[in-house]
Every structure is written in C-alpha cells, then in structure tokens.
C-alpha cells in the first residue's frame, strides 16, 4: 500500500481521537488488525540488516577510526634521488633548501643516495640499490671498500647509537649484484652522433664516461696501464681492494658500452691532438702520477722511494724490495698508512710512520691508523724530516726534527719546528707527502696551458681547460683527494661536456654542487643500547693474520646482516611528518604526545604516543595535519586485554594503516574500505 508523497499531509493537530460509539469500536479493532498487517507485510520483506558473512559490511570512505602516522621511519616508499647528472645538483639544492636533504646524501661529495640504498636493501631490492648507487658512485663495489664514507659521519643515527653501515652496504649490494649482473648489464643505446674520448680510467673518468653513455654518447677510454682503474689500480693496496672487484666493476661498464683501450698512453702511443680530431670532446682524467719527494739532504740516495712507486710495485709485483728491512715512511696521510701497511705485508721487519702532525691531527682516517697500529706499524708523530742519513749512497737512517705546530692560526699549512732532533735507523725511506701530475708528454702538441707549478690550468667549477672541447677532472684538477671526491668532479665534468656537446652554455642555469654543512656528531653513548639496535659489526680478519699478506681485511656482511643494517636507516627527511606538533596541540583530549629534536639538518620525531583510551576519534588532529602525515584508519572498534596496549607508540602508529594492534594482524581492513584518497590541500 504505497502512499504517495503528496498525500502525506501533516494534520493540523496531532491529537487524534477515535470516533465515539460503534464506529470507534470498529476503529479500535481495525487498528489491531492494521498493526498485525503491517508487521506481517514487513516480515515478508528483505531484512535491512546484513546477512553475515555472505553480505559484507561496508563503511564510508570518510570513516574516522584509529590514527595512522605516515612518513616517519615508516615502511612507506621513500623518494629516491635519481636524476640525470646535469640536473642532479639542482635537485639536491632544492632538497637542501626545502630541508629535505638527508645528511648522508648532503655530506657525500657525489651526493650518493645512501638513504635510498638503505631503503632498497631493507626491502631486499638489492640490484636496484646497486643501480641507484651506481648512478652517482660509479664503482659501488670499490668505494664500498675504500671510501672514507663522509655519509656515515653525517648519519643522524650517530645521535642515537651508531651510524648506519652505508659503505659496507655498497659492498654488499655489489656482491649481490654480481649474481644478476649478466642479465642486468645490457649495452646502453648510442643515440647521439658525437663521441667523447676520456684519458684515464680512474674513478672520475669512469663516472664521467657513465654519465655520457647514459646520455647516449659513444665514449672511448684510454688507459696507460695494462689494466684499468687508475689510482685504484696502481695506488690502493690489494688488501683493501681486491683487484678482481675493480676489474669486474669496470667490466660491467664495458658491458654497458664503454670502449676501453688499455696500454695506450696518450701522448706517447697516441697524441692527444689525434683524440681531439677523432672525438668531439676530450676529457683528461689522468690523475697524479708522480710522488713528491722533499729535497732534503740524502733524498737521492739508494733506498729513498716515492709512495706511488712503492705502492705500484707492491700492487703489481707483490714485491717492494723491503723484505727483512726497516722502513721509514714520511707522511701522515692515508697513502702513508697504505705504504706502511704494504711494507709490512711485503716483509719489512719494522715500519715506522713519521708524521708532521700530532697523533690527534693525523690527516689519515682514524680507523686506518688504528688498523695499521693493530698490525704493528709504529707511529712517530710531530716530527718533520730533516735529513736522510746515508752511508755509501745507501740509506742507513733518518733524522727528524721535532715539530711544534703544523698550521698557523688561520689554518694554513705553516709548520713550526723545534730544536729537538732524533735519529731512526732504517733501510728504506718512503716519501708519502703528496703527488703531482706529470703532463709533459700528454699535452705536447696541444694548446693546453700548464701553470708554473706544472699543473693543468682548469676552471674548478666547470672543468674546462684552456682548449675548447678539452675538459679535465679528477685529481689532476683537485689535487690529491678521495676517490669519491674524484667521482664528484667526474659528474661535474660530464655535465659540462654534455652542455658543450649540445651547444648549450656551460654556466647558464647551472647549479653548482651545494655543500651543506651538517653537524658532526659526538660519539653517542651506546652503553645500554641493545645489540640489535646497533650497527652490524663488520667481520675482519685477525690483525696478526692480515698483516702477512694482501688478502682483504674486511670480510663483508651477510645478506641478513645487510638487510637488518639497512633497516636501521632512519630515512631522514623522507618523512611526511614534520614534527610541527599541531596534532598534539589541537587534540581536545590531550591524547597525543609528540617529542622531537631540532637539528640543523632538520627535525626528527623521537616520540609519538597516541593514547587511544583518551582518543575520541574527533578527527581534529588529522584535519590539522599540514602534511597529511596523520590519517584515520577504519578501526574504531578497539579493545585490548591491557590498558597499556591502548597507548600506541611511534612504532605502532607507523605500522601500515590497515593493520595495527587493533586487528592483531597486518593488512586487515574492514571490508569495503577503500584507501582514503589524500585530502586536497
């Protein structure tokens, strides 16, 4: 008995009465029958409730349930920093200006996305991690062993316990990548007509080559030595860098399409001018070839040797002629330490490291020194070389003078010497005080200019030389430095070459590499921090064993260790939550507790507690959240066995929004709940 809408008219008065008399009696009786009729009719209709479980319960997409916080150490996908070389700096700078640059990325000279690596490794997407790193760090496997890891220095995890083992993860990623290398290394398509020649196959040359290859250019590389790698091949001791790693990584680049010609010394075998003719651009990444030797008395005696020559011999012949001899190494840098450790491995009976700097100021990395001391190197600090004592043209000892200070007040290198002299008996003196470039034969016949001190004239920002179409990068430009620093110059040079080849201005709209400043963390007190939260320990060979030969010292992480380690990454600055505490301040029930630390690089949320026993699901917090980090889930029917469980801490808040403690398992949503679309701002 459908009643038309128009027929339902509100009575003028609702006080309805039955008619008097018999009519009223009939009305009374019929009211009973009407009532029974209504219930009977409705009982034949389909019930309005759901037939469980055949029919699913649906809730509105605007439901307000328990809260979920996103983007603070969450499992969410984080933005990977992955761009072509020529716009990479701009991206980094934008991130830096927006306070979105993770400290590890900012502190790396080449801005390697260590955060992305950590994320991908933790997700067990290791080949992707390798490729992500390779974009900016051409030799992850190599750098994973020798890099001085400024990223780890800046790691915010330092603040809590220990930094994330970013460098060992590079190495781990390389090792895992080797398993799938064959299928993932496919030649890059050559889409451009122009070609580039690169002289030198060191890290900077390789990274420039890779950038150019990615842009579609043909790249031809010339290497003087029989094997590629530049200083990595000739200078770095094998116990730190097994050569097969280096070669296999370069082989990978060859597989990507790099034309590598070894044993060709440009300038001798083939003139540079020929390269200029054959190719549209030439990149000089020749590095430094000559050790500096101080012109002190006796420096030309038999037994005085430069560091590069010493290391070359150690690396290529495995023999440096110091077996049974006492070695005196002058210098306090990483190369000096390498020399000292190589000397031990090639049979020296006593190795003494003499540095101008005091033991606190040593330029070598502290862990290098520590490992060297473990192996038996003797360090003599704050002394300057005075004279090589000779006897019949052979070295018999070394006289050193006490050094009072190395740097003046302004920080310039200006050593002050004292009066004290001391003699050390030794058979071999190795000078490890720096290197210089040897460019005479290379630049012969070209219009390239060389400064008075024998250095190539190079624009330090754009890496152009005095000749058009000739660029330079690497240590030949920067002087002795780190491998990752060289790689950074390689990327810059590649950017210049790309612009040159495209005929664009080298300077216009170009972002110089920003150099962010990050706080150096004091070593955190890790006592009381449970082992599981701390950094994975890199397995190392025993000191007494490793000093005998050139086998690698660090043994690498296992798959599981690596994934656990990668999961320690805080994923700084990828968070959506910016710690504004607006949610806590707007909560009418004071259910939210937010604590954060403010740091130069950005904020870090250290505590986020939501007390659901107070929460009224009013939704004000989620509404107030300026970044949409806080969203509602569909769970508003909450009950727990303990009151404590009602307090959702940060970990709980960050669990995927579909499954929290409320459901007891992950990924459970009330049926029919779509993921809420992000609110438009």
């Amino acid at each position: 008995m459908a009643v038309k809408r128009e027929d339902i008219i509100t009575p003028a008065t609702v006080s309805d009465e039955y008619a008097p008399g018999a009519k009223g009696f009939l009305q009374k009786v019929s009211s009973l029958v009407t009532g029974l009729g209504i219930t009977a009719r409705i009982s034949t209709e389909k019930p309005v409730t759901i037939r469980y479980p055949a029919e699913k319960w649906t809730v509105s997409p605007r439901w307000r349930g328990a809260l979920h916080l996103r983007g603070v150490l969450g499992r969410d996908e984080i933005p990977l920093i992955r761009h072509a070389s020529d716009i990479y700096n701009g991206v980094i700078e934008d991130l830096y200006k927006g306070e979105r640059l993770p400290p590890c990325v900012g502190n790396c000279p080449a801005n390697v996305d260590a955060r992305g690596q950590g994320f991908l490794v933790a997700e067990d997407r290791i080949p992707e991690a390798y490729e992500l790193v390779r974009d900016r760090n051409i030799l992850p496997g190599v750098l994973g062993r020798i890099c001085h890891h400024p990223c780890e220095t800046a790691c915010r995890r330092n603040f809590y316990d220990e930094p994330v083992a970013i460098r060992p993860l590079h190495r781990f990623a390389y090792e895992e990548f080797q398993k799938v290398a064959a299928e993932r290394l496919k030649p890059l398509p050559i889409t451009q007509k122009q070609s580039v020649a690169i002289v030198g196959s060191g890290p900077s040359g390789l990274s420039a080559a890779y950038d150019l290859m990615k842009a579609g250019y043909r790249v031809v590389m010339y290497e003087r030595e029989e094997r590629p790698g530049g200083a990595l091949n000739t200078g770095v001791p094998a116990y730190r860098l097994p050569r097969d790693v280096l070669y296999s990584e370069i082989d990978g680049l060859v597989a990507l399409g790099l034309e590598l010609h070894c044993g060709i010394e440009v300038g001798k075998t083939k003139p540079l001018s020929a390269l200029q003719r054959e190719h549209d651009a030439v990149l000089l990444a020749v590095g430094l070839q000559e050790s500096r030797i101080l012109p002190i008395p006796g420096h030309d005696a038999e037994g005085v040797i430069g560091a590069l020559e010493f290391l070359w011999a150690a690396n290529h012949k495995g023999e440096t002629g110091v077996r049974g001899k006492r070695v005196f190494v002058i210098g306090g840098g990483n190369v000096a330490v390498d020399v000292a450790r190589c000397a031990l491995r090639t049979g020296a009976t006593e190795v003494r490291l003499a540095s101008l700097e005091s033991s606190e100021e040593l330029p070598a990395h502290p862990w290098e020194i520590e490992e060297a001391l473990d192996e038996g190197v003797i360090a003599t600090c704050s002394v300057g070389p005075e004279e090589v004592l000779t006897e019949g043209g052979n070295v018999v000892g070394m006289r050193v003078r006490e050094c009072l200070s190395v740097f003046d007040e302004t920080g310039r290198f200006a050593p002050k010497f004292g009066e004290g002299l001391s003699d050390f008996a030794c058979d071999v003196v190795v000078f490890s005080i720096g290197q210089a470039a040897k460019l005479d034969s290379l630049i012969a016949g070209t219009e390239l200019l060389v400064s008075g001190r024998g250095q190539l004239v190079v624009d330090g920002t754009h890496f152009t030389t005095s000749a058009a179409g000739v660029f330079a990068c690497g240590e030949v430009v920067t002087g002795p430095g780190s491998a990752i620093g060289s790689i950074a110059t390689g990327h810059e040079a590649a950017t210049s070459i790309l612009r040159f080849l495209r005929g664009e201005s080298l300077t216009e709209d170009r972002t110089p590499r920003p150099v962010p400043v990050y706080a150096k963390y004091a070593v955190a007190d890790v006592s009381g921090v449970e082992r599981s939260r701390r950094r994975s320990i890199m397995p190392m060979a025993r000191a007494e064993d490793r000093a005998k030969d050139f086998r690698p010292v660090e043994l690498g992480l296992t798959h599981q260790e690596a994934m656990i380690e990668a999961a320690r990454c805080l994923r700084c600055q990828s968070e959506i939550c910016v710690g504004c505490t607006f949610c806590a301040r707007t909560c009418p029930d004071y259910a939210i507790q937010v604590e954060r630390v403010d740091e130069p690089g950005g904020r870090c949320l250290t505590r986020y507690d939501l007390d659901l026993s107070k929460c009224a699901f009013c939704g004000l917090c989620a509404e107030q959240c300026p970044t949409n980090a806080l969203t509602h889930t569909g769970q508003y029917e909450l009950s727990f066995f303990h009151r404590d469980l009602l307090i959702f801490d940060k970990g709980e808040m960050l669990r995927s929004g579909e499954g929290t403690r409320a459901t007891g398992r992950d990924g459970v949503m009330p049926p029919g709940c779509p993921v809420p679309p992000r609110r438009e701002q």
Binding site: L32, L36, I42, P47, V48
Partner: protein, 315 residues
C-alpha cells in the same frame, strides 16, 4: 508401578518441554527477527537453528547469583515450582485420536488447574528476591494470572459443553468441523487469556522490562533464569497444543502419526500467532489489563457460553 510410569512420563515431559523450548526460542527469534527486518540467528547451524544448543551450555555454566538479602531456600527452589506445573500439565494433551499420555476423565480441568500452581511459585520467587521491582512484578503476576483463569476456563467450557465430556480424548473424538466457526470467539478468548496466563506480550506486565526490568525474575541468573524462560515456552507450547486439540480437533482430519504431525503443525501456527501478537502490540497497563479481563473477556466468554448453549438446545 504407577509411580514408575509417572516418573518416566515426567522425564519425557521435561525433555519434551526443554526440547520444545529450545526450538520455540529459536522460532521466536526467527519470527521476531523477520518482523523487525532482521535475520535473527544465522551463524550456528542451518538458519541458526543450533543457536540454542550453544546457549544451553552457556546458561548452565553461568554464575548462579543469589542476592545477599534473598530468602535463599525459596529463592533457589522457586524456579522448579514454576517449571514443574507446566511440565505436568502436558500429560493430558490428546496427541492423536485415542491416545494421550494420561487419559483421565478430568483432563480438561487438570490442564486448567495444574498450571495455576505456578502463581504461587512466581509469588515466592518474587518475594524471595527481596527486591521492590520483583515484588511488584510478583503481585502483578498473581493478580493477572488468577484473573485470566476465569475467561480462559469459560472459553474452554464452551467446547466442553459441546463435547459433553471433560476427557480430552472424548472432546477430540466428538469434535466436528462446524465447531470452529461456532467457538471462534471462545478460541480468541482462550488465545488472549493464555497469553496473559503465560505473561507474554502484550500482557507481559509482570515482567515489563521497561518498567520492572524483568519483574519477578529480575534477580535470577543462569539455569534458574532459564527455568523461568522454559516455563514460559512450556506454557506456550502446552497452550498451543491444547488449543489446537480442543478448538481445532487435534489431528483432524488425520489420525495416527499423521494426526500427531497435524496437531503439531496447528500448534506451531498458534504459537506463531502468539509471537506475532507479542511483536506487534504495545503492552497494556495493569489496570487496563484487569478491566479488559473483567469487563470485556469474561462477559464475552459468558455470551459465547450462552450461544453454545442455545445451539446445543437447538440441536
């Protein structure tokens, strides 16, 4: 020997009522659910039919709460006396032509009289609870149940008059189809009075949950509460069966086992009608209830009796 038979019949009656109550509760839940646009039980067993099987252990294992101020002995045993008379009254029901568990010449009287003992038990339980609401409920129940005995008995009397016997088997045997229109008013009175007797809506005034929470059994829990509930359903089953037998000719038109089934189907229809009424109408107030009894039902029953008498004379 008689004692043994009696005992066995008692056990059978209790089992029948318990089983019937279980099915009755399920049926009521389904009926009320459909009336209220719900599905009712649907999880356990087909159409939720095993729901009550699950409920019985729950009731058995529930804590048996006895209020501190209650009269303990009476409080504990009153539920038995609520349930007992209902179970006993079942024995006179003529299930099929020529067979009733107890074939007695005063069967109809027995059926009307024995359940009235329940009133005492209800009053006792209400009193023993030491609770104002329970006491009010018990007093209401007493007034109501005793009052409604009158129209109910008068309504049944119409049939007895027609059959000329108080033996239920004789009544069933004498039953003719034209008694149905003749005694329809009597049946309605019997129906209404039976509802009032078993304290069901719209006459659930003694237990009115919106006023007295649950009336005389407000303080009961667990199995003791369940025995009140079973008594209600037992009374409903007994009244339905007896009504079907007396007013609708028992197994008519069939005999034997088919007759039993027919009787049960008729009883279920009456039971469904009882539920339908309960889930449709509001509850009366007790003064309205009493005036309805004395001012409407009793005179109407007397009129019916006169009509039947006239018909008998005219025959």
């Amino acid at each position: 020997m008689t004692l043994l038979w009696g005992f066995l019949w008692g056990v059978a009656a209790v089992a029948t009522i318990a089983g019937g109550a279980i099915l009755g509760v399920w049926w009521e839940r389904k009926v009320s659910a459909r009336i209220q646009m719900r599905y009712g039980p649907q999880q356990i067993g087909p159409f939720g039919s095993l729901q009550m099987i699950a409920d019985v252990p729950k009731l058995l294992f529930k804590e048996d709460i006895v209020p501190a101020l209650a009269d303990k002995a009476i409080f504990k045993y009153a539920p038995l006396f609520v349930f007992g008379p209902v179970a006993v009254s079942m024995v006179v029901i003529p299930f099929t032509a020529g067979w009733a568990p107890l074939n007695t010449s005063v069967g109809v009287l027995f059926f009307l009289a024995v359940p009235s003992i329940e009133v005492i038990a209800i009053l006792l339980s209400a009193w023993a609870s030491h609770n104002t609401l329970s006491t009010l409920g018990g007093l209401r129940a007493t007034a109501q149940m005793i009052s409604y005995e009158v129209p109910r008995s008068l309504a049944v009397l119409a049939i007895v008059l027609l059959a000329g016997s108080l033996r239920p088997l004789d009544v069933v045997a004498a039953w003719r189809w034209w008694w149905m229109p003749l005694t329809f008013v009597a049946f309605v009175i019997y129906f209404v009075a039976s509802i009032a007797e078993m304290n069901r809506g719209p006459f659930d005034i003694p237990e009115a949950e919106s006023e007295l929470v649950a009336g005389y059994f407000a303080d009961y829990s667990g199995m003791r509460w369940a025995s009140f509930m079973m008594a209600e359903y037992g009374a409903m089953i007994a009244a339905s069966l007896f009504g079907a037998a007396l007013f609708f000719g028992g197994g008519w038109p069939f005999g034997g086992a088919l007759g039993v089934i027919t009787l049960i189907v008729k009883a279920i229809l009456i039971m469904t009608a009882i539920m339908w009424v309960k889930w449709t109408f509001p509850r009366l107030r007790q003064d309205q209830l009493m005036s309805f009894c004395w001012k409407a039902l009793t005179p109407l029953a007397l009129v019916q009796l006169v009509v039947v008498g006239v018909v008998l004379v005219w025959l």
